[in-house]
Amino acid sequence: MTDTPKAPPTTAPATDTAVKPPLLDINGEPMHWLVRPMTIKLLWLGGLAMLAFVTWLGTTIYTYDKFTLEGTIGFYSWYGFVTCVAMVVFAKLLGLGLSKKDTYYDK
């Protein structure tokens, strides 16, 4: 067995400047920019910033509050969130009893 000279590398060694392979979608095509992980991360950050901004906006105006609860800080923010959570949870609980396979009436 003789030593054979190593073949020269066919690709350049990895460096920080190497181009990453494009992310592919389910069809093997380059992923749309809107659904790339980085975009989604940015959308979350932007969304959270916007949430904070609109809550702050709500505190900048004086409104006449007829009902006690309405006068609480950030009422429309927390009320919107809490009632939506309640509706989803209620729907899931209802679904435990009433959900059937979508072929239920076909039998």
Binding site: N27, V35, G58, K66, S77, G80, C84, A91, S99
Partner: protein, 571 residues
Amino acid sequence: MINDVLSMTGNVLVSPSLILILGAFLVPMAHGWARSALTLALPLITLWAIWQVGDGVQLTASFLDYQLQWVEGSKLSRLFATVFAIMAFAGGLFALNQKHVLELSAAFVYAGSAVGVALAGDLITVFLYWELMAIGSTMVVWSGRTPDAGRAALRYSLVHLFGGLILLVGIIAYIQETGSIDFVLMQANSFATWMILIGFLINTGAPPLSAWLPDAYPEASWSGTAFLSAFTTKTAVYVLLVGFAGEQILIWVGIYMIFYGIIYALLENDMRRILSYSIINQVGFMLVGAGIGTEMAINGAAAHAFTHIIYKALLLMSAGSVMYMTGGKRKCTDLGGLFQSMPFTTLAGIVGALSISSFPWTSGFVSKSMTSQAAYDGNLMFVWFALVAASAGVFLHAGIKFPWFVFFQKDSGLRPKDPPWNMKAAMGLLAVLSIWIGMQPQFLYALLPYVPDYKPYTKAHVYEILQLLLYAGLAFFVLLPLMKRTMTITLDFDWFYRKLAVETAQSLSQTTSRLIAGYMWVRNNVVNSVIDLASHHHNPKGLLARTTPAGVMMFWVVVVLFAYLVLYLFL
């Protein structure tokens, strides 16, 4: 002679509704570009005719001993008739490449009847158009041309014929009671008026018969559901605004419908059923407005009916476009990622979703909030809190859920293109209207029955709605794992007539069959045995029936006498 039957009291020669209804029969006779031209022209001519109708009774007709007020104009009736004609035009444009012309004809009869109800001045005319509407809409559902559509159309027609029957009973009793056929404000304080109210409510999708709507509408064709979303429930809202404004029970029925629509839509997987449940939800808002009954509330309900017809048709057209281009896919579990290849349809769906959610600068913002304001002004605290929560819930179930699961979420790998030009044009028209009304509400407000004292674009209102909707959006994405779509349906009241009644009938049938089988066994094995036995002994040769010689009888008599003698002597 015709003057004996028809009588003009205004400048109306013929009811605008007849333009669509009679024109519907011409549509199948035309072909190619002529059919397209007719399809687009009929609603536009109807719209022109509607705006020739002045206030008050315009056209009467003799019927039996009654003078029907065939056409009667008011701001409210023109508002509803106008949006019905707009919808007929947009729906016709969307359906230009629908191969089955029967659907378009039925849809025009349906739309024309809705215009007829809106312009009717008496209860008999309302009823006649009401029933014609039921026939037209049933045909639209049936035009889906699938076995499921056929069965759904049958159930739909049964519910509506039942509702029509109740309405008829109410109208007859009302005429007996009052001697009048005028369609005016009533109170639910007698058998007659309760029957009329129930008859109207069945068409709104009110409990307990709400399920007819999500059962039937999604089974229509890709173009048919857009028509269906516009007329039946909104004519019901119109007649409630005319006949029962201020009836408090409508507030509670409306609130039930609002939350029923949200909860069931949250559990639903079929995109068109999601939108159908959201029709019930939105009509609930209108019923609350009708129930509050103040000028602000009636304006709110009427304005919301107008805007809702436009944005709901837009939503259902975007869903219909997805169906059309994907070969009939309707379930969220089969869809996703379509924004990449259907950008126009996605945009149309998003505009519709923002409008239904009352996002600022869209039509829903300037209409729905009037009802909330009316509840607030009337110190209806519980109602107001419920409406605010429901506004967030609408964004949750229709504003985000529909576009998210259809156009975004996980990539289904489907890459259908946007639909043909006419479908895009119809969606474009409704999207532009939704935004235009949202940005220039004064044009809609000018059509309302009362002069509105309402400014939607205050800083406070815009900030409040933005907070409410954006935090509802946060709740959606935080709870996304709970919203994962499954291949399920949620049982509803229709279970009673689709399952329980069917299984009870089958069970009764089996029990009856067993009883008949038991009877046959008894007949064959017991009765027949008795008959055979009797026949055996009583046939001409049987022991008890055969003829025997007199000597034999004498012999047996001697035997018996001898036996008697023996017994007498020895015992």
